[in-house]
Amino acid sequence: MIISQLGYYSLIFGLLTSILIFFNSSIQIKKNDTVISSKTTGLIGFQFFFVIISFISLIYSFIISDFSNETVFNNSHTTKPLFYKITGTWGNHEGSLLLWLLVLTGVLLGFIFKSKNEPNNYRQLTVLFHQIIVMGFFVFVLKTSNPFNEIFPVATEGLGLNPILQDPALGIHPPILYLGYVGTSIIFSAALASMISSYVNKSWAKEIKFWILFSWFFLTGGILLGSIWAYYELGWGGFWFWDPVENVSLMPWLSLTALLHCVVTLEKRELFKNWTVVLCIITFALSMAGTFLVRSGILNSVHTFANDPSRGIYILTFLLVLVLLSFVIFVIYENKNFARKSKIFVLSKETSILVNNWFILYFLSVVLIGTIYPIFLDVILDEQISVGPPFYNKLILPFLIPFVLFMSIGPNMKWIKTNFKIGVKSFFVIIFTLVLSFITIYFIGDKNIFVLLLFIGFFYLLIKSLDQLRNRTKNYAQIFSHIGFSLLLISILLNSFSSKEVIKNIQVGESFTLKNEKIIFKKIAVEKEKNYESIIGFFEILDGKNKIINLQPEIRIYNEPEMATSEASIKTSLFTDRFITINIIKDQNFFNVRYQHKPFMIWIWISTLIIMLGGIFAIFRKNKEINI
């Protein structure tokens, strides 16, 4: 079809543009031009434009169900609702790579516009390094993952999209996630460029901070969406499983958080120059490594794309080249950036940021090692092990306690030097924290000293962060993100300890109880939708105060592909979620029913949104200069 040709040749033109930009920029750098030529800017614009055309072509092919296109044939079906035809475009390997390219070329254009007042040498070098990444991806797509392969003869119907992917949250999860994930690419390119052009200083920090916030914000949002989807779609009421694919999105997030704090120090005090650049490189390397792990077929997970190893080898080699390149550049140019020789006092914000990075990098190493150690063990010793929640909990939870304590006092520290004063207020804060913690422990019923310590730490962080609101000069970015983070930790801890579940095999008309609630299985109904049929169970929950809540879990049978899914019915309130699923069992008259109480679930989502709100404040914040 003509539209596939359009999409394919747009990609070819995009690659050619890439080569042109690369050579153009090289020449300009050699000539030490003082201004980026409009030719370069125009070419960058064209490059983005070509990718947009290609992307829209693929979407169009999905919408009209053009089964001469192999990707559409493999991943779509005429009976799919329009929304899922569109989101199905990026729900597969080839389409999602187009999304990668879209964001990759888009952020470069954004960078060109936003960096108008930055040194030209630095801008040209950023463009240069970024084109290396862009070219690599164009070649990867064109050679191994072409979304516009034509198949002949044309089928009349496609193979359909996995029903569990047909979901609104999962529809927008990739674009949001990729803005964060792929956004780290411009941070990488800019870091290498600033190293070479000796631009690692306050000005650069201010500029790159925007892109770090941009990536961090969308990555947080992407992870949030993924967790929400997992919660209501996968049916077990869980939202985080330490699954390798989840870990792979968490690692760049941890790195970005550390980087964010680091770059603030660079901006205020021109410290940690080398370390900031290293973090920029690590962040992008983690995001590329994540792409590799998820698409190469190396991991055994429900989340992975079905893939072949030849694609894996390409990304792996590409990643190695990029990391080696940055390693060489770092080694060569490390000394060219004159590091400010300044003493760091123990009681200072600088120290608290060092401690912040220390702990975050530790958490990052736990997640990284937990994820790739089984792979190493399998290859080297041919032993297969699993690394799951017990590992991560044991290594992360104990360290969370000192981490949140440091996090509580860090914001109170001044830059350079603080005179530590313990006043009456501190005394009251500590008492209040202890009281709150003991009351919580009492209500949960788990009289475990370790859990008590966790609550003490988390509540202390919350109170100290709230206390920041009373400052004369308020840093809303930091206040909201810290409040959000402490709320997140508290909600997760409360949720994990007070969740209750009951599983029963019952017939229509029967009932069972959970705590002071009675759950009655009222009836069954059958309904037919566009591309599935469903069996709906009607349940009535009578709570202690005789209020009635209605829940309707479903079993859906899809026609293309032939699959049955279980759809949970969830009633959310501020205090708890009521979560129910049904499943068919061999005895026709009975259904397998799982009913759960998930306390404070909505607070987990709300607190993450508050963290993101902090990010928005940060983008608009006008920073005060410190003059030394």
């Binding site: 401690v355 990098l361 799951g388 095999n505 049978i557 499943n583």
Partner: protein, 134 residues
Amino acid sequence: MKKMFMKSKKLSITKIFVSVLLISLNLKSIAISSTYSEEQTINITKNLRCLICQGQTIHESNSDFAESMKKYIKKELENGKTNEEIFASLVEKYGNWIVYDPGISKNTLLLWTLPLLLFLIGGAIITKKILKKI
């Protein structure tokens, strides 16, 4: 009229039921368990991997294997076996892969110690940086 409607509703439910059953049989995803809701069983099954549906825990999975495993664990608990004994016997039968806790063995020593080692190294670097005089 109502009788006919009830009959056709029953017919369509049965039709759907049979098709679901057939699909489920092929996908090995039928729950056959009898009533159970013990916390200790759940504590164990949440920490075991399903060999048929390899992305799920035994607790989550409704596959044949998972259902048999739940019954097996219940029996073992009734016979007085401890959690550790049950995990150990399952590891002997199915290999280390089946448990989510990698445990401490010569294979996993590095797994547990490497992050801690890095933490200590990080601490040393920071201490040096803070104590450095200009």
